[in-house]
């Protein structure tokens, strides 16, 4: 009975064209891992060995008919994940490959919106393969490349043998500026242990507690208005729950299209529990997450990744939520 309750973890594999996604997929499919994986691919056309299951799909982004403009989901994923859950043998993990130009948001939102998918599977992590040589140019030229970095829980910085040390540092700084909580793994030919990219549980609220983003100094020079950046806020003064909810829900409603990801741990006045949330655009997952640890300072931490963050008066909004 336990078995049927277990949610199968789903890893989303993104990466701009030519970054090395196919190399990684081939590794997952050919390695003797002794696990049963299903790999949902686009025009891959190869059979897995070692018991893996390959499913061919076309990315189909559907708008939900619920009046929320940025609430899009992957229709093909809903169909395939619902189908896979009818299998007699249980899968250890499901890996979803996205096309090079895909925005990861609809994939992530699928797990918030579709109840069947949410009941039986869980979004484990978004893993983005990036080309150390070309990433900087791709980030400048393509929104999609920025989004793929912004949504990543893990960035596999691939082809590092083709750049020198200073070049590598520049790329890493660029990644961190977009997404301070992605774990960056240096690789050549995607040589990474599968343990480092599968079964990370990165989307669980429990993991939000680990968020310790690099608080970058604000060197926002030579940035375009629509560059993806991140902003973090910390407060030792407890927050007023009502004020926070008021501010935050309005913020997501009006600016949700530009806010790609949010994470936060909140200390509310009069509450003994820590409140944790994480969100994708307008969708959020939030819950009290147990008592604050004894002897540790209580504080609220909030991270935003998105476009035009500077124009949202986030600092002022957050300050106003502090209890008087």
């Amino acid at each position: 009975m336990e078995e049927t309750n277990k949610q199968v973890p789903v890893t989303v594999l993104t990466g701009f064209l030519g970054a090395g996604k196919t190399t990684l997929l081939n590794r997952i499919l050919t390695e003797q891992h002794g696990k049963k994986y299903a790999v949902i691919v686009n025009e891959f056309g190869e059979q897995g060995i070692d018991n893996d299951l390959v499913v061919d799909a076309d990315e189909e982004v559907f708008e939900m008919n619920n009046g929320c403009i940025c609430c899009t989901v992957r229709g093909d994923l809903i169909r395939i994940l619902s189908g896979l859950m009818k299998r007699a043998d249980k899968l250890d993990a499901i890996i979803v490959e996205t096309t090079g130009l895909a925005d990861p948001a609809p994939v992530a939102q699928t797990f918030f919106v579709d109840q069947d998918v949410a009941d039986r599977t869980k979004l484990d992590a978004i893993v983005t393969v990036a080309d150390a040589v070309h990433l900087s140019t791709q980030l400048t030229d393509h929104h999609e490349a920025e989004e793929q970095i912004a949504f990543a829980d893990v960035v596999l910085l691939n082809k590092i043998d083709l750049v020198d040390e200073s070049g590598l540092e520049v790329v890493k700084e660029r990644i961190k500026k977009i997404n301070p909580f992605a774990k960056i793994i240096n690789t050549t030919k995607c040589g990474v242990s599968l343990n480092e990219i599968l079964n990370l549980d990165a989307f669980s609220l429990k993991r939000v507690l680990d968020v310790e983003p690099d608080f970058l100094t604000s060197d926002h020079d030579h940035e375009h208005d629509d560059d993806v950046t991140s902003l973090s806020f910390v407060s030792d003064t407890p927050l007023d729950m009502e004020k926070f909810q008021d501010w935050f829900s309005k913020l997501l409603q009006t600016k949700g299209q530009d806010i790609l990801r949010t994470k936060g741990i909140l200390d509310f006045t009069g509450e003994s529990d820590r409140y944790v949330f994480q969100g994708v655009h307008m969708l959020m997952d939030a819950s009290p997450m147990g008592k604050w640890p004894e002897g540790k300072e209580r504080s609220s931490r909030l991270v935003f990744i998105g476009r035009n963050l500077e124009s949202m008066n986030l600092k002022e909004g957050f300050e106003n939520c502090k209890s008087a």
């Binding site: 009975m1 049927t4 309750n5 891959f44 056309g45 059979q47 299951l53 390959v54 499913v55 061919d56 076309d58 189909e60 559907f62 708008e63 939900m64 008919n65 619920n66 989901v73 229709g75 093909d76 809903i78 169909r79 395939i80 189908g83 896979l84 009818k86 299998r87 007699a88 043998d89 579709d114 109840q115 069947d116 009941d119």
Partner: protein, 347 residues
């Protein structure tokens, strides 16, 4: 989905469970289809089993992975699987392959008068009788469902953004028209009288079109996606899953617009996951998320009897033989109840 069983201590077996045969196969039941006085069941390991009174039911290996969909074709059964194969299976277990789409799933199958139809991705394939090559109908998105009307002259194909309605003219040429409604449409059915077309949507609602004047409307208010719905008593009611009651919309007269549905409540307050009309009666078999199954008269909810008690697994298939002598219930935990409907003495 696990049910809370603590509130049902030591529930006695129903008379149907006592009289019938229970199979604990542990393989999710994906489909059950009536073919005459047999019921063919599809499973999540690619096998099918044929249940006929007085005969044993051995597993027949049809697909490599999952039997995704099934439909009746005369005295045979059609199946589609996640191995990309579209198969015809006879009641004596003989399998013939009609189509093979490799790593692409065969999501839906149907048949009418010897025409065999399946969908894979965004294409519907139609094999006319005595034709080796299928005719292809392409659509703008992956297909959510397919259905023939009773006469087989109209083929409805649901998709993202609505339904494409294919009509065969008298020179046997197929022409399409579009019925559009924003959102993603899944299963589609015609009313038996051919007047209405109904789809279930990705959102927790149904949509219907009255075909003579293309008037359309949503049926909403559900707590979950509507995975199962069917017309009852010719076309008088549309029974639907997706709520804690079996919601039955009136489709007689001018249809459901402005009218209230009849809601049939069940003990346990569980989600209805499957509805199956009881043949020739104004009654439905209702399967719940905890595995229990009830038989109810739509206009007289007090006439509800329990057929199967809970199993902890959601009901995923119910079928009744054509002669109404037997019924079969299957769930996601691979439990099957195959039972005669009437007491032996009353026969």
């Amino acid at each position: 989905m696990k049910a809370d069983t603590s509130q049902f201590p030591e529930l006695d077996k129903t008379k149907f469970e006592q009289r019938g045969t229970e199979f604990k196969l542990g393989i999710p039941v994906t489909n059950a289809v009536t073919v005459g006085n047999s019921i063919v069941v599809g499973f999540g390991d690619g096998t099918v089993r044929i249940f006929t009174s007085g005969k044993s039911s051995e597993p027949i290996k049809a697909h490599k992975g999952i039997v995704l969909c099934m439909s009746k074709d005369g005295d045979n059964i059609l199946t589609g699987g996640d191995d990309g194969r579209f198969l015809k299976i006879s009641l004596d277990g003989k399998i013939s392959e009609i189509g093979n789409f490799g790593t692409r799933w065969v999501d839906h199958v149907t048949a009418n008068n010897g025409s065999l139809v399946c969908s894979s991705g965004n294409i519907v394939y139609l094999w006319s009788p005595n034709h080796k090559e299928p005719k292809l109908f392409e659509h703008n998105s992956t297909i959510g469902g397919i259905a023939f009307d009773a006469k087989g002259r109209r083929l409805a194909v649901s998709r993202y953004g609505g339904v494409t309605l294919w009509k065969k003219d008298y020179s046997n040429k197929w022409n399409s028209s579009e019925l559009n409604w924003k959102g993603s449409h899944n299963k589609v059915i015609f009313s038996p009288d051919g007047k209405y077309l109904v789809t279930s949507m990705q959102e927790n609602q149904l949509h219907f079109w009255r075909l003579k004047d293309k008037i359309d409307s949503a049926m909403s208010g559900y707590g979950a996606k509507i995975k199962s719905f069917a017309f009852v008593d010719d076309s008088k009611y549309l029974a639907t899953s997706g709520a804690k009651e079996a919601v039955c919309w009136p489709f007689d007269g001018d249809g459901p617009v402005g009218r209230e549905p009849i809601c049939l409540p069940y003990v346990g307050n569980k989600l209805v996951t499957f509805v199956e009309p009881f043949p020739n009666e104004n009654a439905i078999l209702t399967g719940l998320s905890d595995g229990s199954v009830f038989l109810s008269e739509i206009e007289k909810a007090s006439n509800t009897i329990i057929i199967r008690s809970f199993t902890e697994f959601e009901v995923s298939a119910i079928a009744v033989t054509k002669d109404c002598s037997h019924l079969l219930i299957g769930d996601m935990g691979g439990n099957i109840l195959w039972t005669s409907i009437w007491d032996e003495e009353k026969k």
